[in-house]
Symmetry: C2
């Protein structure tokens, strides 16, 4: 009991005894068991869960950094899980993290299924969706201003006279690519330019798939004169396809969502839609902490972070 008081610095232990306890701790290498600590009711674990779809994607690395930054300042540690875009892995991770009594959970959701996430809410654990949202599932979340970002990028291409702009997207059903496609379509509509469904390629999850998709388009009878790619995986694949095609790499204009290092030094006609993944992570963590700090349940808050076109 006295040791407990010393470690928690409650202040009601005689100075001389504090010293003796401290000495003994050092001598014995004693360490308080945080798990035992947390099983008492009402106690926090100072542990958050973070689930991303691909830890090796630099974009999510930045997000992770932002989350870590905010949590560390509050003395909170982070369990990290990789769902690999698989809903079953996401479900396992969520369930496991709840079993470990995380104080909060930040998830980049794989898809539209939300039953397991609903369970997080029922368990009273603050939940924040980061980078993506789930239609009809009303919880705290941070996303980018995808529609405007895509709109601005495509509008620029249209303003430069392009009339056949390919769209390369990842999942065909998910929230974020759908919003980016929306921006693409609206930009066309506002410019009075008809879109060609044959130019819209969805479902490329990695650069190689994206490369093949654009390669097919370039070899088809009516190739695009420009490309809009909805994420950095598709941008990389698109550049590969252009480089492989043998044509002048600057003959096709590319606008891609997500910036990446040195993109401006590449010998392509390339612009990127830049945004701050780290700030997105910070915001997600802050939203979760806001819930944690509040006694009463709060109304879900959705934030949108700005994007910026760079070339």
């Amino acid at each position: 009991m006295t040791v407990s008081r010393v470690l928690r610095e409650t202040g009601d232990v005689r100075a001389e005894k504090v010293q003796r306890v401290r000495d003994a701790i050092l001598e014995l290498g004693y360490r308080r068991n945080e798990n035992a600590r947390s099983i008492r009711p009402g106690q926090r674990t100072d542990l958050f869960g973070l689930i991303v779809t691909d830890v090796s994607n630099p974009y999510y690395g930045q997000l992770e950094l932002g989350v870590e930054e905010v949590l560390t300042s509050r003395g909170i540690r982070m369990l990290v899980g990789n769902s690999d875009e698989r809903i079953d892995r996401e479900q396992d991770l969520v369930s496991d993290f709840l079993g470990r009594k995380v104080d909060g959970l930040i998830v980049v959701p794989v898809g539209e299924r939300s039953a397991h996430l609903q369970a997080v809410r029922s368990a009273g654990v603050p939940l924040v969706l980061a980078s993506r949202a789930i239609a009809g599932f009303d919880v705290d979340g941070v996303v980018l201003d995808d529609v405007r970002g895509a709109y601005d990028g495509v509008a620029t291409l249209l303003a430069h006279g392009h009339r056949r702009i390919a769209f390369l997207g990842h999942s065909s059903s998910a929230f974020t690519p759908a919003r980016r496609l929306d921006g693409y379509l609206r930009a066309h509509a506002d410019a009075g330019v008809a879109t060609d469904p044959a130019l819209i390629k969805m479902g490329q999850r990695d650069p190689e798939a994206a490369r093949r998709a654009l390669q097919d388009l370039l070899r088809s009878g009516h190739a695009p004169t420009a490309v809009f790619s909805a994420n950095n995986r598709n941008t990389v694949g698109a550049l590969r396809a252009i480089a492989d095609s043998g044509m002048d790499p600057r003959a096709i204009a590319v606008v891609g969502f997500d910036a990446f290092e040195l993109f401006d030094l590449l010998p392509f006609d390339l612009s990127v839609i830049e945004h701050d993944a780290r700030a997105l992570g910070r915001t997600a963590a802050e939203l979760a902490l806001r819930q944690l700090d509040s006694d009463a349940p709060l109304a879900p808050e959705r934030r949108e972070l700005p994007t910026r076109l760079r070339n």
Copy 2:
């Protein structure tokens, strides 16, 4: 007790009661408390700690993925900490992770201090150093074959006739950059080429510092004709400096440790020393599991992973 038996699937519960328990669990949303579980002596937490110096660096993202991959296959979760190259943060994280009773710890060590890591050993927790080592601290570890990698890269530059090759490194005291510098020096020695200390710039931790370092060299009286950069941060900075200098970007040959996406499409005379960070992560996790699975303490094992020069 019966619930416990059902969840652990010990098999000695009547089928009908198993069903009733399962129904109740679903109805109540009951979830076993893993922390309470783990405080019983001899019980594992199925939790590992991973400490890296920069979660947002894609290299460490790959490493994290490799670790995750192996651990997940064993049902082990991962606490991730970011030391930000600061020894005090590393110490805090190690201490905290021990308090949470991790079953193993994988660390990319910041520097040469190892007292806090010695404590990990004393606590009987499997410890593996990844990507870097600490002189005089003999524990399991995985590193790259830095010396040979650097040697090969520099030897190629020398073979192409370069006689003034700049060296751009990160920390001047740490293990890994020292090994890479060693490779640089040996390649010169073997070729009978004298090195110029003025061309060796250490301590650039980010691209901007590296850019300035090379900029200074290029503007000096006797500029290098080639650059060897010891990590991807320095490579990025070096390319910026060359691009900013106004000279023909292919006039200076660059060889850099660490590959990165699309490097081959950049309009520079650039080769990279490639390696598999994911495999490094996998190996680190396997070494830790090897300790965990062994009853007797094992002799420390050091592995070196190969590198490959690509252009």
